[in-house]
Symmetry: C2
């Protein structure tokens, strides 16, 4: 601890500690997810993509990218690879000749549902002993934090 830390307000200090913990928890969560996914040849990125298609229906690459903090070209590359793996299909888009609609193939849909099922069980296990009230309060605070960040920069 340096003397600089005395410039923190009490709340500022708490937020800093929260940010540090959030970072550790995020990495832990992602590596835990990846180790669950890898036995199906999936990754966190591929799962997130399938999740978007499963809940949002067929969409263009641009639309998928716009709904998440990832670059359009990253999604494009991922989609191309997953089409090759027969997890996704490209359907004609009546509104745009080049921008095809990306959708889950039958195999992709089945795989996603399988993994989602495991994921739900995992979340249920993780939440044992916690109250949904305190979990929701925590989430609300993160939303609040993120909203403040959105004001701060134009990312």
């Amino acid at each position: 601890m340096s003397e600089l830390h005395s410039e923190y307000t009490k709340e500022g200090q708490s937020i800093h500690a929260l940010v540090v913990e959030l970072t550790f928890t995020f990495f832990k969560l992602r590596s835990s997810g990846d180790s669950q996914y890898q036995k199906y040849g999936l990754s966190s990125g591929r799962m997130a993509l399938m999740r978007s298609l499963f809940s949002g229906g067929p969409q263009t690459v641009s639309a998928i990218a716009a709904s998440r903090p990832v670059a359009r070209q990253g999604i494009q590359r991922m989609v191309n690879a997953m089409v090759k793996d027969d997890l996704l299909l490209l359907a004609e888009n009546p509104r745009h000749k080049r921008a095809k609609l990306v959708e889950l193939s039958a195999a992709g849909n089945a795989l996603y549902r399988q993994v989602l099922k495991e994921e739900i069980e995992f979340m249920n296990t993780l939440s044992e002993g916690m109250s949904s009230g305190s979990i929701n309060e925590c989430r609300n605070l993160l939303v609040q934090l993120r909203d403040k960040l959105a004001l701060d920069d134009s990312t």
Copy 2:
């Protein structure tokens, strides 16, 4: 929403929502941090490394890597680059001929303190309107979550 979601317990559903929000908040936080750091030629990774050295004192590359969820060779590469940029120094290690002690140079220390100062102000701003009690509760819940993850896998 698919029929699969009915397999969630109430708490499981909440945890899932929390995990989604946590992910968004993490990315927002990191990009916000990076845009603050870049005017000093730094990145989140470099800042984290300097933070370790500032608070933990001179350490070997291996020790730094062991204290965070990053690979040893990633730290090694970063250290080599930052030594070239005169932000870090390699001091002789009496206990090991090859494993030098990494420490902040005078320039690195000054730069870190400058950025830290801005960061503290930023955290103070972010926390305005929040109670340190609710922030700490949120952090405690994340700690609890991370502990459960640690049990689950051996990452």
